[in-house]
Symmetry: C2
Subunit: 301 residues, 2 copies
């Protein structure tokens, strides 16, 4: 399917993409490209990539697909380093958690060659990071959002979509603006809230006592606060406007809930809690229905 795939940033996300393509027998060669040698050496050692390069010239030679799986703030710099060696038939995509800023950076760097860049975002993750966390099944049954640009030829979009489907993913499309608004609400805000809670507790005088009694509910609630602070700083800044909008809506919601609590308004609290429980249950049921094994006729992978 792919003669040569280049992974820029061989951590959890890029490494799992490589392993997924390998498991599907879909790539002739997969090479890793990274300035810092440590993760890349480990990825080579683990067999995630077949070759490792610190500079793009040789890495890009003959490549048909490049995945940039690096913090979003680095996308522009990475594209700059790739551009001189980018053949006209090579398609570049990314795995960044924000899209409008990535598209802006890509346009600014690639200019007339923006048609070769198909923005994307796989909706998958694990608590741990780095090449050691990479697994071939990370994307199985998970969504990947592509945000194609008007300049992208359909064949380029199809090629990227196919790579993700070979990893077992379900491919969706949103515009960069839609994407950023959606993920500000369901991903970026929860991360900010979880970080805020753990930091709040950690800064209290009796933090040790508090953590001693934190249990599984707290553990799940704060799991996303175990994510990389640098990555989430970048995402917060990259999607600042949409995130501020969602945060303000949430603050208004919390102030309303505070007023109900202060007034000992039991029915008012129960209405919010009950609506949340029902909405979450309906959502979980929809997920579980969608995650059922595909029937034979849909098994085209």
């Amino acid at each position: 399917m792919f003669d040569k795939v280049v992974i820029v940033g061989v951590g959890l996300i890029g490494g799992s993409f490589a392993l997924g393509l390998k498991a599907a027998g879909a790539a002739g060669t997969i090479v890793g490209l990274e300035r810092s040698g440590e993760a890349l050496a480990r990825a080579l050692q683990l067999g995630i990539v077949d070759h490792a390069y610190a500079t793009p010239e040789e890495a890009l030679h003959g490549a048909d697909l490049v995945l940039i799986a690096a913090p979003v703030a680095q996308t522009g710099r990475i594209l700059e380093s790739l551009l001189p060696w980018l053949a006209p038939h090579t398609i570049v995509t990314d795995a960044g958690s924000t899209k409008a800023d990535v598209v802006a950076a890509a346009r600014s760097v690639l200019k007339a060659r923006i048609a070769q860049f198909v923005p994307g975002h796989p909706i998958a993750g694990r608590e741990s990071n780095g090449p050691d966390a990479a697994i071939p099944d990370l994307y199985r049954g998970k969504k990947v959002v592509l945000s194609p640009l008007p300049e992208n030829p359909q064949a380029a979009v199809d090629k990227v979509a196919e790579a993700w489907r070979l990893c077992g993913a379900i491919v969706h499309q949103l515009t960069p603006g839609e994407h950023d608004k959606v993920f500000a609400a369901v991903s970026h805000l929860p991360h900010l809230l979880a970080y805020a809670l753990v930091d709040d507790i950690a800064n209290k005088a009796h933090a040790g006592l508090l953590f001693q009694y934190a249990a599984s509910g707290f553990r799940d609630f704060t799991r996303i606060a175990g994510s990389s602070p640098e990555m989430w700083r970048d995402i917060s800044l990259a999607n600042r406007e949409a995130l501020l909008g969602e945060l303000d809506a949430y603050l208004a919601q919390l102030h309303g809930l505070r007023a109900r609590l202060a007034a000992a308004d039991g029915p008012g609290l129960e209405a919010v809690y009950g609506n949340a429980q029902r909405a979450r249950r309906a959502w979980i049921e929809a997920i579980e229905a969608a995650e059922k094994p595909p029937t034979q006729e849909s098994g085209t992978e």
Copy 2:
């Protein structure tokens, strides 16, 4: 160990206590007591209890231990119904998520017989509820906080502690006030925050689109919003003062974080996120060290 144990409220919490004692071979008879017959009939059918009663007279006859595992707001009413049939040697404990209000209700009802009531709170749960969710291992390795009263004879406290240890739990002690302050921070506030987020999203015009892209991070963050709205309404009201204090501290934290985001203060955001990640990691490491299988000399269970 126990001739007869009475479980008032045979759902996840009460049922798992019964199953834990049964698995340890520590109870002659376990009986369920509940006004509504459905859950109790199911518990009998599942073998969680040996007998089921709708009224206390026969249930309490010859009992040495009673566990009240019902919403905290019902504790006073339940104790009132038990009091006429409560023998002097019977010890009563509870599994309520708040303690100061439970102690106040118990004092008001039991008066001079308050010495027979040893307040407790097992720190364990699951996403599902009811007798079908009950499992013998729910408390294994989990903490149970007892909040003994000055009036409790040491033998009564020891008896309750022993029952929980037989279920595999680790018994801690906090005063009712300490307990409520701690759990306002690490349990009650996160529940309120999770409910608030899901309700906020569910009320948006494009809620369907948002839920479609909510992923595992959102699922874990909001798991506790799947809990019973009635139960958490009661807990919120019962621990209102401490919860308001924690909510206000969190709101102040969020407003501070909002200011950093609005100012595009990358280092400021990263400092909060990084502190949270480090604190959480240290906490997880401490939990995992504590959850290692006990060495031989500590294996007195």
